[in-house]
């Protein structure tokens, strides 16, 4: 039977051997990480963004590289997913963007700090994470159902040829519309969010053919104060803090003018 001396030798020997292998792998990893993470792209701006990320304990709610808390979304690819403009507007007043939903702290970041954070997140999005986060494999099975719920999912869009011919005013991206809505081939394909009051999950409709469904007055009233029209709606309250009433009118005019570009099939 094993003696105490042998048991100790097993412990000490095993520890030394495996700690040694671990140190060798660490050395190799430390050497390889700069290439795998594009460390040459870590500008002072990115580094400053990382500091902000830590000083405000963003990881206390979000995950990054899948690490952190699980109270708020994974942010590794957030710049690809939402776009910089959306993030800029969101950080300034998170509660306005997700009315009635789970809250995020409203930080008093300067524009420069927001740019730093975005630069950091953009760098994170380009790191080779060995395939993480993987594309949802069952998403394609979901598409028909999602399209039906959205109502305006695929069918609410202009034909690709027309969409490509009409330039989308930058305002729609800068003011974060494309963070949820799809229009003229740009933006998210029908983001689905729950209504804070009813809990019903609704999809942000494509906006190409909205002129068929709404009048000018309805659209202005809706964008100016969505909660008044439909309490609990996930549509954010961006007016007047982030979008001026004049801009609302410009947006609505553009949406209605799309009518001139198309004669829908039915």
């Amino acid at each position: 039977m094993l003696s105490k001396f042998q048991a100790r030798a097993f412990f000490l020997g095993g520890t030394v051997v495996f700690a040694g292998i671990f140190l060798i792998l660490t050395f190799d990893t430390h050497r390889k990480i700069p290439a795998q993470t594009n460390s040459e792209m870590i500008t002072p701006q990115v580094a400053a963004g990382k500091k902000l990320w830590e000083q405000n304990n963003c990881m206390g709610c979000h995950t990054l590289f899948g690490e952190g808390a699980y109270y708020a979304p994974e942010l590794t690819k957030v710049v690809d997913r939402r776009g910089k403009d959306w993030i800029k507007i969101f950080i300034k007043d998170p509660a306005a963007m997700f009315p009635g939903q789970r809250k995020m702290v409203k930080y008093d970041f300067t524009d420069q700090q927001i740019d730093e954070l975005i630069a950091f997140l953009e760098w994170c999005g380009r790191v080779d994470l060995n395939g993480f986060p993987a594309d949802p494999p069952l998403k394609k099975l979901m598409q028909p159902a999602a399209g039906a719920t959205a109502g305006a999912g695929a069918s609410g869009e202009l034909p690709a040829t027309v969409a490509a011919a009409v330039p989308l005013p930058v305002m729609f991206e800068q003011k974060s519309c494309t963070g949820c809505h799809r229009i003229l081939g740009k933006g998210m394909p029908g983001v689905m969010l729950p209504n804070a009051v009813t809990g019903e999950v609704v999809a942000a409709p494509a906006l190409d053919l909205v002129f068929q469904r709404k009048t000018r007055e309805e659209l202005i009233a809706w964008i100016s104060d969505p909660q008044k029209v439909k309490p609990g709606s996930p549509m954010p309250n961006l007016v007047p803090a982030l979008v001026s009433p004049q801009e609302v009118e410009q947006m609505v005019d553009f949406l209605l003018d799309l009518k001139a570009h198309v004669t829908p099939a039915n």
């Binding site: 671990f22 993470t37 594309d135």
Partner: protein
């Protein structure tokens, strides 16, 4: 109790218990926030509650480990503690640093790196404090009348824990490197050197409670901690799959993490075998329950549930979801919280001279807290698996999925109430024992405690 200076342990345990209650309070704050009741958001946003919750855990477990060391080491070394006054200072300053850190989290002062949120200036104070602790314990061992395996393993566990704190203090601009070395602290603590500490405490308790020969218990201690390091060191790789480290970690981490449950299984079998072998039935059933419970629950929580999401193919989907929180709760509870509670359940009668070991409250404490924790883990498991399927596999929006799984947090809160009642029973007993007393030195309690094992040959110091 053999030595007067062992009494200092009582105050470490008492402080640990207060922090445990506070930890539970912050757990409730988060639980309620998750079902939409976030009225405290302005003052205690989720990231504050979360950092406070996890840091309180680390903090009270460390206090528990330190208290256990102050209790065990004099007895194992067969002499009074080297510098009892210093131990008081160390306790006071450790609590002070901890409280400052926790208050800091409420005013946005931290270093938001998961589990290591303590702001840098306080990091240095923690290091100094732990060095003082290690010096005190170390000198007691060094000048002791005998060196036992238990005390040596415990000491080196604590020393290694202190050393491994340092890589977490290196600054990197690269998030991947930052994360890489952060796991040196977090993983190599909880799946490495803390298990040395746990193993040593388990070993001490088994010697005391089962009366099995010390040589035998300590021999197997070496095997268990050997298995732990064999799997646990390279098992660190399971944190390196998807953070920007080379691909070979998927292989290394996958293989060695798959071995990790074996170490925990070994630990559970070891504890049960020793308890079965021990002919002497120690009257302190509560302490034996917590000891064996810890060995078993650490296998379930850390070993089995850890393995459930540690393979790279699975982890690709579960990484960064509530599945991790599920594993985390039962793992910490089983492996570390329960062993500290076992030490307390064992040490209180010895330090106070009161034999309050077999009563209704101690039974309720054990069963309610365990059932509650298993219930919480179950709720988190269902929530986590649902999140994985809806968000990661089907691609639904994060907030939509969170709304879907809200109901499981109601379940979690209910289980947490059960858990809380269990802990309150434990505290009620703690309170009834009263303060430690010098009269307990060599009292009749000691007679029941007589260490029947043969100590290792005494050596000249």
């Amino acid at each position: 109790m053999k030595f007067k200076t062992q009494k200092i342990a009582y105050w470490f345990f008492a402080a640990a218990m207060l922090l445990l209650v506070l930890q539970i309070v912050y757990g409730f704050i988060m639980g309620f926030a998750r079902i939409g009741m976030d009225g405290l958001h302005e003052w205690i946003p989720f990231n504050t509650a979360r950092a406070t919750h996890t840091n309180l855990l680390i903090f009270w477990l460390l206090l528990g480990f330190m208290g256990s060391a102050y209790f065990i080491i004099p007895e194992e070394a067969d002499r009074e503690l080297m510098w009892p006054k210093l131990a008081w200072i160390q306790l006071g300053s450790f609590v002070l640093v901890g409280v400052v850190a926790l208050v800091g989290y409420h005013v946005n002062w931290w270093e938001g790196r998961k589990f290591l949120e303590i702001p840098r200036p306080l990091d240095y104070l923690v290091v100094v404090n732990v060095l003082v602790f290690l010096a005190n314990i170390g000198m007691t061992v060094w000048n002791g009348k005998r060196y036992t395996t238990t005390s040596i393993v415990l000491y080196f566990g604590l020393l290694a824990a202190a050393l491994l704190y340092l890589p977490g203090m290196i600054d990197f601009d690269n998030q991947t490197l930052d994360s890489f070395y952060r796991w040196w602290v977090v993983h190599l603590w909880v799946e490495g050197v803390w298990e040395l500490i746990m193993g040593a405490l388990l070993c001490y308790l088994l010697i005391k409670l089962t009366g099995v020969d010390r040589e035998l218990v300590e021999k197997w201690l070496y095997i268990i901690v050997g298995l732990t390091f064999l799997s646990g060191i390279l098992g660190t790789g399971h944190h390196y799959y998807y953070i920007g480290a080379p691909r070979y970690w998927l292989m290394v981490g996958g293989i060695f993490s798959a071995l990790e449950p074996l170490a925990f299984l070994g630990m559970a079998i070891y504890a049960l075998a020793m308890a079965k072998k021990g002919g002497r039935r120690h009257p302190n059933k509560a302490a034996l329950n917590w000891t064996l419970g810890s060995a078993i629950m650490s296998f379930v929580g850390a070993g089995f549930l850890g393995f459930a999401h540690t393979l790279p193919q699975v982890n690709m989907w579960t990484h960064g979801t509530l599945v991790t929180a599920m594993h985390g709760h039962l793992a910490f509870w089983g492996a570390y919280a329960m062993i500290v509670l076992a030490m307390i359940a064992y040490a209180l009668p010895v330090m106070t001279g009161r034999k309050l070991w077999d009563n209704a409250a101690s039974g309720f404490a054990f069963w309610l807290s365990n059932i509650g924790m298993v219930g919480m883990t179950g709720a988190l498991a269902v929530a986590g698996i649902t999140q994985v399927n809806l968000e990661r596999r089907m691609g639904l929006d994060f907030l939509t999925v969170q709304k879907e799984i809200e109901v499981h947090f109601i379940g979690m809160l209910l289980a947490a109430c059960l858990f809380l009642v269990g802990i309150l029973c434990f505290l009620w007993n703690f309170w009834r024992f009263g303060l430690p007393s010098d009269e307990a030195v060599h009292s009749d309690v000691r007679a029941a405690e007589e260490d029947v094992s043969t100590p290792e040959p005494a050596r000249a110091s």
